[in-house]
């Protein structure tokens, strides 16, 4: 009687959930989904965290595939990464039925 491993789906959903498991990251995604794109500097003003901390949250969201950043010198423009966002939405929808 062997122990089954987690499925890829379960791992993927947990990963997306983890990306959204901090209020700052939820807030960032709300901002981006409202106006589609945004500069990191603008986001700072909307969140109660330091720039360096924001940067960490942004890279976590990027790592999770939920956002993408394009260099628009001298700023970086962050946008929703449509594929990842849609996949997360779909998986979350299926999960909750």
């Amino acid at each position: 009687m062997t122990k089954p491993q987690y499925t890829d789906k379960q791992i993927a959903l947990a990963r997306y959930s983890k990306a959204l498991s901090h209020p700052a990251r939820v807030a960032i995604m709300e901002i981006l989904s409202q106006q589609s794109c945004c500069y990191s500097g603008d986001i700072t003003n909307d969140l109660p965290i330091a720039r360096s901390t924001l940067s960490q949250h942004l890279s976590e969201l990027k790592e999770a595939g939920l956002i993408q950043g394009e260099f628009n010198p001298p700023k970086i423009k962050y946008c929703i990464h449509k594929e990842g966002w849609e996949e997360a939405k779909r998986m979350m929808g299926e999960f909750f039925e």
Copy 2:
């Protein structure tokens, strides 16, 4: 220019997300949502973790309001906590539009 705090909604969504941020907890919710209720002992066989670790995950889900456990001696029957589950579903749905 003061820094705004997170909204209650953002905090609540992050909380539900955090509850689902581990594959074991995703798996547990899938099991429960399929068959509505389950005994802790049965779940053990479906997951690659020790009983004591499962117990911790169950209490996190309970803490988050996603499941409830009723004592059905000598076992504990875990079920989905409908209110919390529905709220999570609704909030997640709104979040993704």
